[in-house]
Symmetry: C2
Subunit: 430 residues, 2 copies
């Protein structure tokens, strides 16, 4: 048996502690699969006194995580601190600079600095593993980089944030408005006390930018992601969706169009006939469409200690087995920057909901706005009557360019009868 | 760029031809991902004159596939002939013996000779790739071997045969009896003219034995698989299933119980709340339950030229990237033979359907048989009345041992009122 792979773990939060626990519990199993042991030789965290239920005897404790980067007894630094910058960034940079392999679960770090870090890893011939950064328990980075390596990827999309999926599922199944469902998610531990990054779509955007880079061989371009969260989705939209044959999911979608790389995160109407419509609760799902493999969907836990630790250790096992591939599937020098496809040029079908005064002539004004913008209406629903007061009116469109829809919506928003800004949700086509 | 990986393709049927086509079409893309080209330098097939729409200029033609094994210009032999024995077996054996890497899509070959072939590959330090042998377009072998390598696998199961899934879906959605649905599947090209291996569950069993070996680190034991096909599933069962909240799927299920390795292929009642219940038509799905990763499901095309070629070439790409792992995840010497868990010891819930004469006392006789076998009835349905003539009676049981259920069914089968052998379908629990 070869000599052990020696790991330094930075950050002993939920995930870090579980990684240490997993490596201890499955030591023999992993050794039989790798031909060598994977051993935690050093750890670093802020609070040495906290009881994490871990046996840390014989493991070096370091108050300063950065010390791991220079420790000659460490082969791999496992960065589980989090955050796009600060200590996490410094540590990963220093570790790679010192020629150490790095495994991280840090999506923000990768989304902001992925290409530069990949370059640093490459120049030292070491691995930069980040399976745990996207869709935790689903080995999707490996699938894209290796399992589907024979394919030109046509589209990659998914439910990448368990908090949002939990909230949208609770809204639908328990008929809750967004705020109530969010409070519920927080009580159950599915949402953090500051849920901004999740509900505003930022976390999904981090993951999407990473997926897009691996799938399309392009530098990570987080700033190019169009991001909308779920805070504007009403229970009324979920009800209309169901009536129209859709479930609403927060999707991250990336594809290469004639206008360039389209990366977008927003609530989507998903036809109930598509299996991703049935991925509920805190589960994640990623769909890969390849030109030979056709459509593949992987469903699993997107977060949580166990699934994330499983992904972190899978990366460590790859390293222990001496399997190293370029972080984004091709060497950094071969990554091809693509123009950003503007959302104005996005083509698709749309769901729009208006809140208008129920009086004669309103429908005529609205449909005229669509006609003049050359947007073709597929369906129009006005449930109930409420003469003189407001009613919701829902329309779905045929395939159109987003800029054209924007013109119609702007005109309708300015109508005297319109009482709330129109709400738009894109209908994803499969 | 390193020197090209030179491939000899044996068998130019649907899959073989598509592999040649894929490598030609994606040559540059694959080279950018591997750092070297993958080139087909020789092919072999029975009929040289058949027009396959392939550009074979510059590629050696060999009438005798075995010649590929000894050809010094070939690095990898790609076996796409099929069949557990005969030429396919001879070729793979000879190629490995000559120190060539081998990639195959041949599940029958692996199910029957997997362990011996893995040993041959190991002794020469070459790869034996078979991603395409199980669930075509789903990279499940890689996921088990690498993505979930940090996990003790608790259960692996799936819909592994698109023909059966197509037939069961057509029975349910178009209200067809089995024979009609099979004829339809044959007309549409989803079933072969001799569909025996598919509908009798043998194909699923081949794939399950391979999955179990990789998942549990045990020698391939195809002979230990309990196999039932779908020929006995009636439309009436599908209707009752739906009423009880189930869809019927042909599953292959493998897990390690206290009695040993349980490997079984049979129609299953799957609760509609489980996402695998919604994998319809010719799609395949594999669920992996790991002790850290939790439940993961992958859905994709199980067969067809494109998805299978995608998997074959993924294996070639692994070889081109010099990523070689033991075929069944650990070296053959470390595979641990497990006792076969007898189906008699299987514990689970059951659906049973009886065809009995509708007369007083029948129910009492039947329920007494269950009571005496100590099998607890969960539900009992007798729809409609037909005094003096036969009626279907359906029962579902609580958790029980299969041997006990067998005793109850034997006694009921012998009742004077019983007109057809009782039908039993296992209810899979999640």
């Amino acid at each position: 048996m070869s000599k052990p792979l020696r790991v330094g773990v930075a950050g002993l939060g939920t995930v870090g502690a579980e990684v240490v626990r997993l490596l201890a519990r499955q030591g023999d199993l992993i050794a039989s699969r790798c031909g060598r042991r994977i051993e935690v030789v050093a750890v670093s965290a802020r609070d040495r006194l906290r009881d994490r239920g871990l046996a840390l005897a014989g493991i070096d404790w370091r108050d300063d995580a950065l010390g791991l980067a220079g420790d000659p007894r460490i082969d791999v630094v496992c960065e589980l601190i989090g955050g796009a910058d600060g200590v996490a960034h410094d540590l990963v940079g220093a570790a790679l600079g010192a020629g150490k392999e790095v495994v991280t679960a840090n999506k923000a770090l990768l989304a902001h600095h992925g290409t530069a870090l990949a370059e640093a890893a490459e120049s030292k011939g070491v691995a930069l593993g980040f399976e745990a950064a996207v869709a935790g328990g689903i080995p999707i980075i490996k699938a894209l980089r290796e399992g589907f390596a024979a394919n030109r990827i046509e589209r990659v999309f998914g439910i990448l944030n368990g908090t949002c999926n939990f909230i949208l599922t609770a809204m639908r199944d328990n008929r809750r408005e967004f705020r109530k469902a969010l409070a519920e998610a927080q009580k159950l531990g599915y949402a953090e006390s500051d849920p901004t990054f999740d509900i505003e779509g930022v976390d999904t955007a981090h993951k999407l930018a990473i997926l897009a880079s691996v799938a399309f061989g392009t530098p990570v371009d987080f700033a190019g992601v169009h991001v909308e969260g779920i805070t504007q989705v009403g229970l009324i939209d979920i009800d209309f969706a169901r009536e129209l044959g859709f479930h609403i999911k927060l999707l991250g979608v990336a594809r290469v169009t004639e206008h360039g790389l389209e990366q977008r995160v927003h609530p989507c109407m998903v036809p109930i006939a598509h299996p991703i419509a049935h991925v509920d609760g805190s589960f994640n799902a990623v769909v890969v469409e390849g030109d030979f493999a056709d459509r593949n969907m992987a469903v699993g836990r997107g977060a949580g200690a166990g699934p994330t630790a499983s992904a972190v250790v899978a990366d460590l096992i790859d390293i222990a087995r001496r399997q190293r591939l370029p972080a984004f599937n091709v060497p950094v020098a071969d990554l091809k920057a693509l123009p950003r496809a503007s959302m104005d040029r996005h083509r698709g079908a749309y769901y729009v909901r208006f809140t208008v005064v129920d009086r004669p002539g309103v429908m005529a004004d609205m449909t005229a706005a669509f006609r003049d913008a050359q947007v073709s209406i597929e369906a129009l629903i006005q449930r109930g009557r409420n003469p003189g007061d407001t009613v919701p009116v829902v329309m779905t469109t045929h395939d159109t360019e987003e800029a054209a829809l924007g013109r119609a919506l702007a005109r309708i928003a300015a109508l005297k009868s319109t009482r709330e800004p129109p709400r738009m949700i894109r209908i994803e086509q499969f």
